[in-house]
């Protein structure tokens, strides 16, 4: 392969993906229309690298593609059986770690975790369910925080800091006790400056942060991932698909 300095590209599953200086493999792939599964990545926010769904193989090692800098020498594999099996296990880990009861969740059909499970042919939890006890927070007039469904992706944390200039959220605890905190004296969401129009309130990939009057407004059939898989739709929120 010759390296075109003006129009550099790398190989993703054998296909050339062009990139611009400073882009990560994830950014370049998404720009080129190649989907790499992910949950904690958002193009407008700093990369995080925590969910590990975007693992790709290069040089016999796995990397998170959202933090892997693109370069012309890269040969990256993403859609292999082995990697997708690992991704499926990661999604299963997220399911057994929290309390993800899809039938009673308002976000079902719009949920990116659920969509990822469909995408990766997940049928069951595979590991033992933990059924943790987690605190809910209904103190905010417009927004409900259901920690049962939180996957610690920190999208809301980052959106609040980077986009809303507010710093409403942070993580507390360690290990599997890690949990989302509201940065107020009481620790309650209602005592923060979070507003329904904030990016942080409209970025949750699962049903952990819900805007109160927006649940069940769309019938099942019209929800984001009812007809179409996440690899075709992309990681989208309900409002982003109209």
């Amino acid at each position: 392969m010759t390296i075109d300095i003006k129009n550099p590209s790398f190989l993703l599953d054998g296909e050339e993906v062009p990139f611009t200086e400073g882009q990560t493999v994830m950014e370049a792939a998404l720009t080129a229309g190649s989907y790499i599964p992910h949950l904690c990545f958002h193009p407008e926010l700093q990369a995080h690298g925590s969910c590990r769904l975007c693992i790709v193989e290069s040089d016999n090692r796995l990397h998170a593609s959202c933090t892997l800098q693109a370069n012309s020498r890269l040969k990256v594999s993403s859609q292999t059986q082995a990697i997708n099996k690992m991704r499926k296990h990661i999604v299963q880990m997220l399911f057994v770690e929290g309390n993800h009861i899809c039938p009673s969740c308002e976000f079902s059909g719009n949920c990116q975790l659920q969509a990822m499970a469909y995408e990766l042919d997940m049928e069951e939890g595979h590991f033992h369910f933990r059924y943790p006890k987690r605190e809910q927070d209904a103190s905010h007039n417009d927004i409900f925080l259901d920690r049962d469904r939180c996957i610690n992706c920190e999208l809301c944390v980052r959106a609040s800091r980077e986009n809303d200039a507010k710093n409403v959220f942070s993580l507390g605890g360690r290990g599997t006790e890690t949990h989302l905190c509201a940065n107020s004296a009481s620790g309650k969401l209602g005592d923060t400056s979070l507003d329904v129009s904030d990016k942080a309130a409209n970025i949750c990939p699962v049903g952990a942060l819900l805007i109160n009057d927006q649940s069940y407004v769309t019938p099942k059939e019209d929800r984001v991932y009812y007809q179409t898989s996440i690899s075709l739709r992309g990681n989208r929120r309900p409002k982003e698909i109209e």
Binding site: G49, M86, M93, L94, F127, R174, G175, C181, A182
Partner: protein
């Protein structure tokens, strides 16, 4: 910070925050990076972070209480719960458990004046039964002493009135190599390095092939060169004294008795890179060393080795988190945040502490630098072998006659080391702690070096009667307790793996269970964010590879239920029986 003994905790009348953390405040403001230091001091002096102190901190640091709580919850020595007058921590490390075997601690557990909690290894594996009380180590436990402790706690006798010899940590060095015998006149190593010039000493460093002693073995000259080349108006030198790998206590010795040498090594790093500030990140478990370290640093200032105009060193305290031994997590912690490993690259050498170029090296690595500068290249490379030059200090503990410190040239075999410590009977040795490797008797000829079995300095000896399955279980629980929780494979994987391995230990292993564990181990090893996750399944993998064959696996039942019906219905059965009794 003064480390006078605190106990009983001043629960009724806690000192005002300002008095305890005044030295950290500038114009009534607490700089962000000083937050963890402030929390550590409040914890040490009060036994918890009280709501009053929390709101003081929130005001001083201009951070919300919610956010500060999130940081407190990350570090297990920091507590938000009102304390009892005393707090005891017992190490969960397998060697410490064995050292305490035969001691009945129920007296203390039932004593209402003391909380008895658990923590990971406290670096006292060579001290007999030991514990931390109100932050300080108490060694050489006997049943008689436990009873006396219990009385003192009942009477709420101030810790300063307790027999002071209980608090001594005796260093027992059994084999001294060049590192532990060489004595440096203050400033000598730095002067000798200076004579060679920066380029000259870097060449020596490269020729020595010195590799980091913290476990990863990264070539020191590459790290230093990268930091020297990095652009930055300010650079930092950080000494990693967060000796957290269970079974390791060699840095404790170096900090106690060889700190001048460590300082000299840091000074050389500062001179090479132009750094004017250095830090020692000390694990909270070693808070008892703080005064001694401060005194040595003062002496270095008097001798002119350190001075605020060119290069000075401060101590920063951790607060209980194994992950902070990972260099980028340590930097986060030093900045007053939760100790989550950073995304790398960029590496600390270009974007380190406060985003400035930073060299992070282990305590022992800095010692080696000083030794290399003082005694020269030839003396240094006379020890070890081509891939692993120099010598290594080992913390030897467990089932052997003489636990303590041993310095051996790299390439010494496990057998030689066992001979040295009177552990010839061992059935296995864990080299490099839980994240390292279990070496079985058949492999005792294996050299301990970077090319064979690499070590961060922990050498745990397991005698013939020990159940290695329980050792693996202990290590897996250690990782479960210490995973930082950032990435999915490690956060969930360590939990699930420990849970499944518990079932193996109960004899409830099925083929199905093994398939799950294999999947988890492979995922954690490949897909985790940092080294902790990559190595956290090692105890399982070692156990599996040493004990499970295709034949033994196919002989196991295909499936075993996860729960026991009798146990699961015990409560509702008891209700029914109550009913009948009425």
């Amino acid at each position: 910070m003064r480390v006078q003994r605190v106990g009983p905790y001043p629960i009724a009348k806690p000192p005002p925050a300002q008095r305890l953390i005044g030295s950290l405040l500038a114009n009534k403001r607490l700089p962000r990076h000083a937050l963890l230091q402030a929390l550590g001091m409040l914890q040490y002096h009060c036994g918890w972070i009280s709501p009053n102190h929390l709101s003081d901190l929130s005001r001083f640091a201009k951070l919300s209480i919610g956010e500060i709580k999130g940081i407190i919850e990350f570090y297990h020595f920091l507590s938000l719960q009102p304390p009892k007058p005393y707090c005891i921590y017992l190490s969960t490390n397998i060697i410490d458990r064995w050292q305490r075997a035969g001691l009945d601690l129920s007296l203390l557990e039932e004593n209402e004046n003391v909380d008895v909690k658990q923590t990971s290894c406290v670096g006292m594996c060579d001290q007999g039964g030991s514990l931390l009380i109100n932050g300080l180590p108490l060694t050489g436990l006997t049943q008689e002493r436990i009873e006396k402790i219990n009385d003192l706690i009942l009477r709420q006798e101030p810790l300063s009135q307790w027999p002071q010899d209980w608090f001594t940590v005796e260093e027992s060095i059994h084999v001294k190599g060049p590192l532990l015998t060489n004595s440096i006149q203050p400033g000598d190593a730095l002067n000798k390095a200076r004579k060679l010039g920066e380029a000259g000493f870097l060449k020596i460093l490269q020729a020595s092939n010195l590799r980091g002693r913290g476990g990863a073995g990264f070539p020191t000259h590459l790290k230093w060169k990268a930091c020297i080349d990095a652009r930055g108006d300010q650079k930092y030198i950080v000494c990693n004294a967060d000796e957290g790998e269970p079974g390791t206590f060699k840095d404790r010795l170096l900090l106690t008795s060889y700190l001048a040498k460590v300082v000299e090594g840091m000074c050389i790093a500062a001179w090479m890179t132009g750094a004017s500030r250095g830090f020692i990140y000390l694990r909270y478990e070693y808070i008892y060393l703080l005064e001694k370290i401060q005194a040595t640093l003062s002496a270095c200032r008097e001798q002119g080795v350190l001075d605020s105009a060119t290069f000075d060193i401060e101590v920063m305290l951790g607060a209980g988190a194994y992950i902070c031994g990972e260099e980028s997590a340590m930097l986060e912690s030093m900045e007053g945040k939760r100790g989550i490993p950073r995304i790398r690259p960029p590496f600390p050498v270009t974007h380190g502490l406060f985003d400035k170029p930073t060299i992070v090296n282990n305590v022992e690595t800095f010692c080696n630098i000083a030794y290399l500068a003082d005694d020269g290249l030839q003396a240094f490379i006379d020890n070890g072998n081509a891939g692993s030059r120099g010598s290594k200090i080992h913390s030897v503990a467990g089932d052997c006659e003489r636990s303590g410190i041993y310095e051996y040239p790299f390439g010494s075999t496990v057998k030689e080391m066992l001979h040295g410590c009177g552990g010839e009977q061992a059935q296995a040795v864990q080299v490099g702690g839980p994240s390292g490797k279990l070496v079985l008797r058949a492999d005792f000829d294996t050299p301990v070096d970077f090319d064979h079995v690499s070590s961060s300095g922990s050498f745990m000896v397991f005698g013939p009667g020990r159940d290695l399955k329980l050792v693996a279980q202990n290590f897996l629980h250690f990782f479960k307790d210490e995973s930082c929780g950032f990435c999915t494979p490690c956060r969930v994987g360590t939990q699930v793996l420990a849970q499944h391995f518990d079932r193996v230990c109960e004899g409830l292993e099925s083929q199905h269970e093994w398939e799950l564990m294999n999947d988890i181990a492979s995922l954690m090893g490949q897909a985790s964010h940092c080294g902790l996750g990559h190595t956290a399944a090692n105890p399982f993998i070692d156990w599996r590879d040493n004990n499970v064959t295709a034949d033994s696996l196919s002989a196991k039942p295909e499936f075993i239920p996860v729960f026991d019906l009798a146990k699961a219905t015990a409560y509702s059965r008891s209700l029914r029986e109550e009913n009948h009794d009425n």
